[in-house]
């Protein structure tokens, strides 16, 4: 390389931005060329001058406070009624896309009966849990790990049962939101299928019969034991899902 080419690279060399091959070439040239070496020396001298910490302006404390206050005010003005939905804050397009779908679904649902809305909500939550690869907040096959995990995270103690022996191993649990309130979602497996069992406290004390419905290709089974409402959602066939419910109820 001649001096002209070296002069074009010498700043990048000085800034450590050259690849190894070019760095070596510049190094070699600098060892032989007093003029280019002088340029490099001056760059170092300039950096030495600019290293003085006093050259960097620091934000006055008053500015920091004033920004903090302004941001807090803006935050209050923007969203007066926050809803706590931890998994919604997961970054990523999948969640954003699913949220959009969920919003559209919710919008559409508001014109329908509440029952229908619940059905849609359960299905949407199930799909969302699979799409956002956010199946569990706590991944454990041990019911004695999953159950205590909900302590303090939710205002009720959901029943957690392990149905491994009957071919429905427990995989984990997470917080979800059903029917306008926090719910526990228990995740079970069946071969390659996932089952989401949503559990939330029942408003009425009388048990409700098992009802099976289909929605968007998913089976939804709902029932109540007089204390808790249950919603089981999966792409598994209805027969096997009824088997799950039977095992759950007798265990």
């Amino acid at each position: 390389m001649n001096c002209e080419q070296i002069q074009k690279l010498i700043h990048a060399h000085h800034d450590g931005e050259l690849d190894v091959a070019n760095t070596l070439q510049v190094d070699e040239h600098l060892a032989d060329c007093p003029s280019c070496f002088n340029t490099a020396r001056q760059l170092s001298a300039l950096r030495g001058t600019l290293q003085n910490a006093e050259l960097r302006f620091r934000a006055p404390a008053s500015l920091r406070q004033s920004i903090s206050a302004a941001v807090e005010q803006a935050a209050r003005a923007e969203r007066p009624a926050p809803v706590t939905r931890p998994w919604y804050r997961q970054p990523g397009w999948a969640v954003a896309a699913v949220l959009l779908v969920a919003c559209l679904l919710t919008l559409q649902m508001s014109f329908r009966r509440g029952d229908d809305r619940l059905l849609a909500e359960l299905t949407a939550s199930h799909v969302r849990s699979l799409m956002a690869t956010h199946l569990y907040d706590v991944a454990s096959t041990d019911q004695h790990t999953v159950k205590p995990w909900f302590d303090g995270r939710i205002d009720f103690a959901p029943p957690v049962k392990d149905l491994r022996e009957t071919g429905f191993p427990l995989l984990g649990g997470r917080l979800d939101f059903v029917d306008g309130r926090p719910a526990a979602a228990l995740v079970y497996g069946r071969q390659k299928h996932f089952l989401n069992l949503f559990v939330w406290p029942s408003a009425s004390t009388s048990p409700a019969e098992l009802r099976a419905t289909q929605r968007n290709g998913y089976n939804v089974l709902r029932w109540s034991d007089g204390k808790m409402n249950f919603g089981l959602v999966s792409d598994l066939n209805e027969g096997e899902m009824r088997e799950f419910v039977r095992e759950w109820s007798v265990k």
């Binding site: 990048a12 300039l46 001058t49 302006f57 934000a59 935050a75 969203r79």
Partner: protein
């Protein structure tokens, strides 16, 4: 919600010094630099939902830089605000750089004055590289220009600064 502002405080505000430093060097005076920094931070908060993680400092600096340039365009002499045009100002000048007798590093005011004489497009790459220690890639992202442009601006900025430093009257005198 309070969560969002707390999150913002933790993620973004640690880089307030960097933000203010860039604004202060571009704008040239304390009061307007503070206004511009505050406005940029509020804007950053509004866009905070769109921040996908990654380099929070570069993200904030991008917003601050944009606010500072908006301010420059509406408050400064026209020629200062015109973004640098490589064609107009020519490419890399490879003629020998002036022989420099650099001002003593301790003479902060003189160095500040010398930097202040550079056009804003040069000041910003110099400040980002030398004072904020940004990589070429980061500077390219922040300023929204190709890396090649960053390199040529930085080269010219250093040449001009060397010249300015060597022609400045030495305070203290040499006798």
């Amino acid at each position: 919600m309070p969560d969002a502002s707390a999150n913002f405080d933790q993620t973004i505000l640690p880089h307030l010094d960097a933000a203010y430093n860039l604004a202060r060097w571009l704008i040239g005076n304390e009061r307007d630099a503070e206004d511009v920094t505050q406005e940029a931070c509020l804007r950053a908060f509004k866009f905070f939902d769109g921040f996908r993680g990654g380099d929070a400092r570069a993200w904030l600096l991008t917003i601050v830089r944009r606010s500072a340039w908006t301010w420059l365009r509406s408050n400064r002499r026209h020629e200062e605000a015109v973004e640098f045009d490589e064609e107009l100002h020519g490419g890399i000048d490879v003629s020998a750089s002036p022989e420099v007798s650099l001002i003593r590093a301790g003479d902060v005011d003189a160095v500040r004055q010398a930097i202040a004489t550079l056009p804003a497009v040069f000041r910003e790459v110099l400040v980002l590289r030398e004072l904020e220690d940004c990589s070429y890639k980061e500077i390219a992202d922040i300023a929204g220009v190709p890396i090649g442009t960053v390199m040529s601006r930085l080269t010219r900025a250093r040449r001009q600064l060397q010249a300015a430093l060597s022609t400045q009257p030495q305070s203290g005198g040499l006798s």
